[in-house]
Symmetry: C2
Subunit: 364 residues, 2 copies
């Protein structure tokens, strides 16, 4: 434990050094904790820190929390038949990214990091800005200058420094990498501590369903931070012997940008190169998911699926969620669209969970 | 119990008839439940329905829930000295109004109401629209035609019918009253079932503080729905003998529209007539709070206070909250502004709670 491990070249690094990527360029992974005592597994907190026993933070005073996690699990339809939605949009900054940011920033506090850079104009940027504010860490968020101003209001509200970069998205990526040579790159894409945060969703679902595993979990995937976190959490529970099987993990992409769904269809083990089209589901418009190999393997291992939905299906699913009382961003609506596609192909199993990742108020 | 009582003319009505106002024009009240068994007080739910034992809903199948309540209580500052913020903005529609809407709509479902009208373009309108969607009740929300379109996106997202009325705010009020003669007026201002929802904040604070009462609770007040609900909840706990005293309740208004703060200053028992000025704190820009007499009495009985803060103080408090990781609407920032004013006048007691009522994403 407390070691970053590279899944591709098998190099490893101690967590005591701030590091976001392997020397070989691959994203890193973290070992899972050893055998868990069920008695000590669940704490008193009604946040994700309820599961601090399985998180890589050693001292309670390093925890940087804004009340994230322990989000409601609600039937999709009133008196429904075992189809649930997990309301990740009720997290403090309005998305599931708070989970990863809370764990990552707690670790950075432990390590004494004082300043970070990150490139995200969306949910991840807002979450990092909020948790850095809480921890007193200087936060610089890089975004393309063409990003719509409405989208960028939340980040400076947390006191973060917003760096607008002229040119293409690649220019922004280069600018943040240049900055990362001098300070810490708190990448929500590369850093495996993000997955430690999202893995708590698995523990929560297990507890909320009466210590039972869901049969299917459906969610949007771009870089796959939610899917890989959930996979890790349920894998830990399986290895500890608390559950007998993994749920089927279903990742949903927008047809306009579906490198993983394409790969899944073709039986490929790596994401397929695609041309990026226009989609309302901005949170999953990811052409090159850096953990694509691991995502496809996890989906296949669980007997899950990866599918792509159209803009019309996303829009219709957003309306359907609204009519059920849930106001979410299009990225989250994509998950329901994927679920509806599956349901149209045959009855869905009981204990299916659909993850609603982000608030509709963000898209307003 | 199960009876609406008028605090002014002492008339009473059975709750089995849908009714929103006394024949004398006064808002109605609800009796508190009889002696509570502490063992049966707290349920298993991690929503406000945890406290269903003290709520006027008889059948579980009538409960209309989207996962509201049981919101995080977080230290204002990390490792802080007993000053907390209650994150009501993490409720499903982004504000504390979900509490009242959940209880009210549950009752309407019990009564078989199929259609409602309401006049609110803000948090209350969004909350009612969401819960009516969940319950399958037709919902018509009246708002002045001049309301900014951005503010009104959330309401139709829940499938509610948005009725834009030309003319002044009074024209909208008249239009909804005309409609109320033919259907049910689900008024967040008049209906005492809203206060049943907000009273659960008191029960939650009591439990979250380890079954102890906070010393001071600070919140924004317009119509006083949060303050009167909290007052009712703690009063029930006091009468049941579970707590030894009430917390001091502090209501904060914007100086631009402060009929209650003015009255409190002058020692008056009724709201003072004021001219409405411009304020960013739209949620508390209320010239004539219909329960003003009861609000002033509650504040005085608890040894609390009512104060008015300037636009500059509201803006500065909003920035301060952002720098601590909380992105809230200006109405909520007003509460912190009031707290900072009190703190500048002397040290604040431990176990002070500041209620953060609505999400900053709504104001974006």
């Amino acid at each position: 434990v407390d070691i970053y491990r590279c899944p591709r070249c098998s190099n490893s690094y101690p967590m005591s050094e701030p590091r976001w990527v392997c020397d070989c360029g691959s994203p890193l992974e973290l070992e899972s904790p050893g055998p868990l005592e069920k008695d000590g597994l669940r704490g008193q907190e009604f946040t994700l820190w309820r599961y601090v026993a399985v998180l890589p933070i050693r001292r309670g005073e390093d925890i940087v929390s804004l009340g994230e996690g322990w989000t409601p699990l609600v039937p999709l339809e009133p008196q429904s038949s075992g189809i649930y939605v997990k309301l990740e949009f009720t997290n403090p900054t309005g998305s599931f990214k708070d989970r990863g940011a809370s764990v990552l920033v707690s670790k950075l506090k432990e390590l004494g990091v004082r300043e970070v850079v990150e490139d995200s104009s969306g949910n991840a940027g807002a979450a990092l800005a909020a948790y850095c504010a809480r921890a007193g860490i200087d936060c610089h968020i890089y975004a393309p200058a063409y990003t719509s101003p409405g989208k960028l209001r939340q980040i400076p509200a947390y006191g973060a420094d917003l760096v607008l970069v002229e040119g293409s998205r690649k220019d922004t990526a280069q600018a943040v990498l240049a900055a990362a040579s001098k300070t810490y790159y708190a990448s929500h894409v590369y850093n495996p501590l993000y997955l430690e945060g999202t893995k708590t969703v698995a523990y929560e679902l297990w507890e909320q369903l009466g210590w039972r595993v869901p049969r299917v979990v459906v969610m949007p995937i771009g870089h796959g931070g939610m899917l890989l976190g959930i996979y890790k959490g349920f894998s830990e529970l399986l290895h500890a012997g608390y559950i007998g099987s993994l749920p089927r993990l279903v990742g949903v992409q927008a047809r306009a940008c579906a490198p993983l769904a394409e790969a899944f269809q073709r039986g490929a083990s790596e994401p397929v190169p695609v041309e990026e089209g226009a989609t309302a589901a901005e949170g999953i418009k990811i052409v090159e998911p850096v953990r694509g190999v691991e995502i496809l393997a996890a989906i296949r291992q669980t007997g899950g699926a990866c599918l792509a939905v159209s803009e019309e299906e996303i829009e219709e699913a957003g309306s359907e969620l609204g009519r059920r009382g849930f106001y979410v961003e299009p990225t989250s609506a994509a998950a329901l669209a994927g679920f509806e596609r599956l349901r149209s192909q045959g009855p869905m199993e009981e204990k299916t969970v659909i993850i609603l990742t982000g608030s509709g108020l963000k898209a307003t």
